[in-house]
Amino acid sequence: MTTAAIDLAKTDAALAAYDSAEGGLVGLLQDIQAEYSYLPREALERVAQRTGLPISRIYSLATFFKAFSLEPRGRHVISVCLGTACHVRGAGVILEKIERELGVRAGHTTRDGRFTLEVVNCVGDCAVSPVCLVDGEIYAKISVTKVDTLLKRYEEP
């Protein structure tokens, strides 16, 4: 995939706020991901260079924690909750339905870059389960039949 040139000023800004003594390396990567929606290689190289840590160490974090993505994510991120309360109320078939509608499996991005589909193990909204989040906004008590309408809300002209 060809990526546009990465604006490293945003990485530098995140690095400026980072205090290695306080143990915020995971938080630093989160700040960087929040800026770019993923962790660009160039940004990770800059982190290694500035902190003096080997690049392998930075990648060991970036690949260990679920919060991080090494690939650009879609314009909208759908997270389907698979926590226990959602599971016993049928979250599995809802996920399958969304996978079929979008034509991608969980963990992947649609070819047009519109959606990234993810699963999350409990967001703590168990009382209104099953739930899913789109760009952080919560949709409560979803069902297979509501999926179409939900996706249409994020239709682009």
């Binding site: 938080g27 974090l61 679920k66 226990t84 599971h87 168990c126 009382a127 209104v128």
Partner: protein, 627 residues
């Protein structure tokens, strides 16, 4: 140590807060916790502000957006203080009527009252609602009185006075002794006596020590820690402040799960406000004790609930646990003596110091003191957050507080302890809930998730669910966990898809015991529990999958089919419209038929049919639905 300074400083602070407060003032407390927010609580709060202005009451009545009140099933909740008039399922449109009737007048809006399903009577006050009546909300009860972004709200309720009392008159050892008398045990799951951890860390030499709060709540189906941190962050900060004093730590880390953005935000605001008032930082309340608190975001890894993995993650390394024989109290964060406790454990500390160990230790059972917060979810009428004294029975939890099972279905089991716990069947519903009793049944207290299951829940499917969770979350460091869980999951998948063979259950048990014995950390050691308990209590259900290739609960999709019973179907067309795949055909008013090739077994038709005409092939007889 400087003495009186602390309490005087706090008294001044308290006076300035209380000066502006009138206990008889009317306060509208709107629950804006996770579930209520998802049901529109934000609009309700805005509507109250708007309507009070219209009615000219904006100065006379306070509107407070608070975190979880607990009764999530009936949200959004509104409580009008000081009478504690209780309205449930309030929408934006109901607000003008509440303002005119209850706030401008002194009446009650009848139609928004909670109706006791047992008696059919309408209940006016929150404390009379059966869901709340059996609870003892010493940790979570203040949530509805606190706007979590206002430290004054916490101080007005006596917050930080325990800190002042400790700094004024107690030595660190006296604090630990008090904790020991209280009998507090770790609320993260294992139930280790908290004072022992503190004592070990206290006894270590060296100027640099740490206290850590584990708020990386990763158990699926659990939101207790989230609610406390979002709703009453200062109670946790105060606990850490006292803990730091007792063990000799001048720095603390609050490790919050990244999936909880609101908890992170409220914690950050709380830390800043406490710093501004001199409750955190150099010379806490003017004493010689200094304490700094750092906020750390988790990276999204369940294994970080394991204390050594969490410490590794703060240090900027992958969250892999290490062997337990190296204790955190000796070699913790950055190799310094460290105490790590769960959110609820820390939140108990100011309560114990404030009200005394004597009072606290009267609550609970012989071996388990205090209260426990559970998130009561799954197939239960009153889904919500429940705080009960230790020793209450599961039956009281499920039926008296939880209101029983919805849709006339029958109770099957309750699952506690998350992926590390197990299922408990109906015959043990009268067992009192404490650490020992739950372990004896093969489950565990865990962090407080309690998932209720009815006869539609398949126990093989549940075991498979938790194993696939653990397979996903295993850090991969040790072989027993990494490979063992994967193989167990494979066997369960085979069983649930009709490929089970004789001898599978014995092999599964052997492997489960190996994984439990040979894994390095708690994740692997306890991952077999859901398998072992379901095998122990529901073995015949496994056997039906293997021998008859049948799922008695009608949940394992490879083993079921949906059929329409022609005699019962009146051709109303509801299922045809609900079917997402267009798999149901038939003329109007003529019995419909499901095309098995197109059917994805999603169950939409089954849920939609009001005439009991959709049947699940292969399942056991089901109790007639009363709905």
């Amino acid at each position: 140590m400087s003495t009186v300074a602390s309490s005087t400083r706090l008294e001044e602070l308290g006076r300035s807060v209380l000066l502006h407060r009138d206990p008889t003032r009317v306060v509208v407390s709107v629950c804006n916790g996770p579930s209520c927010a998802a049901s529109g609580a934000g609009q309700v709060i805005a509507a109250f502000r708007r309507e009070l202005k219209r009615a000219g009451l904006a100065d006379a009545v306070d509107v407070k957006g608070t975190c979880c009140h607990g009764f999530c099933a009936r949200g959004p909740l509104v409580v009008v203080h000081p009478e504690r008039t209780f309205y449930r399922q309030v929408t934006e449109k109901d607000v003008p009527e509440i303002v005119d009737t209850t706030l401008a007048g002194k009446g009650v809006v009848d139609r928004l009252l909670y109706i006791d399903p047992a008696t059919g009577e309408k209940i006016v006050h929150e404390y009379d609602v059966p869901f709340y009546k059996r609870q003892l909300r010493i940790l979570s009860g203040n949530n509805e009185l606190i706007d979590p972004v206002k430290i004054e709200d916490y101080i007005a309720l006596g917050g930080y006075s325990a800190t002042a009392a400790v700094l004024d008159g107690m030595t660190p050892q006296q604090v630990i002794d008090e904790l020991k008398r209280a009998g507090l045990r770790g609320r993260g799951g294992a139930g280790f006596p908290t004072w022992r951890k503190w004592q070990a860390c206290h006894d270590e030499p060296g100027p640099q020590k740490y206290v850590i709060c584990n708020a990386d709540e990763g158990d699926p189906g659990a939101f207790m820690d989230r609610t406390l941190l979002e709703g009453n962050p200062h109670s946790i900060i105060e606990g850490m402040l006292i803990g730091g004093y007792a063990v000799g730590a001048r720095e603390g880390y609050l490790y919050v799960r990244n999936e909880y953005p609101l908890a992170l935000q409220h914690a950050a605001i709380a830390v800043r406000q406490a710093e501004e008032l001199g409750l955190l930082g150099e010379h806490v309340l003017g004493s010689d004790y200094s304490f700094r608190l750092h906020l750390i975001r988790g990276g999204g890894a369940f294994v970080c609930g394991e204390s050594t993995a969490l410490v590794a993650s703060i240090e900027g390394r992958p969250g892999e646990p290490r062997a337990k024989h190296v204790h955190l109290a000796e070699n913790g964060l950055w190799d310094r003596p460290t105490v790590l406790n769960n959110v609820k454990t820390w939140a108990n500390v100011p309560i114990i110091m404030g009200r005394g160990a004597g009072w606290y230790s009267q609550i609970g059972t012989e071996t388990s003191k205090g209260t426990m917060i559970f998130s009561l979810v799954g197939k239960i009428v009153n889904t919500g957050l429940v705080e009960v004294p230790m020793g209450i029975t599961l039956r009281e939890m499920v039926y008296d507080i939880g209101g029983g099972i919805p849709n006339g279905r029958r109770f099957k089991a309750v699952q506690t302890g998350g992926p590390s716990g197990g299922v408990i069947p109906e015959e043990y519903l009268d067992v009192p809930v404490d650490y020992e009793q739950l372990s004896r049944l093969g489950s565990m207290m865990g962090s407080g998730g309690m998932i209720v299951m009815d006869e539609d829940t398949c126990m093989v499917d549940i075991a498979k669910y938790f194993l696939s969770f653990c397979k996903f979350e295993s850090c991969g460091k040790c072989t027993a966990c990494r490979e063992g869980i994967k193989r167990m999951l494979q066997m369960l998948t085979d069983i649930s898809e009709g490929r089970g063979r004789e001898g599978d259950l014995e092999r599964l048990e052997t492997l489960a015991n190996v994984v439990a014995d040979a894994s390095l950390c708690g994740l692997g050691q306890s991952a077999p529990n859901p398998v072992l308990t379901t095998l122990r209590y529901f073995r015949s259900e496994y056997e039906a999958h293997i021998r008859e290739k049948r799922c008695p609960a009608g949940a394992c999709r490879a083993l079921i089919s949906y059929e329409i019973v022609a005699d019962k179907c009146n051709g109303c067309g509801v299922c045809r419209r609900e079917c997402p795949e267009g798999a149901i055909g038939g003329e109007r008013r003529v019995a419909h038929v499901i095309d098995a090739d197109k059917c994805i077994k999603c169950g939409a038709c089954y849920q939609a049919c009001r005439f009991d005409a959709v049947r699940i092939g292969g399942r056991d007889h089901v109790h007639a639905s009363c709905s």
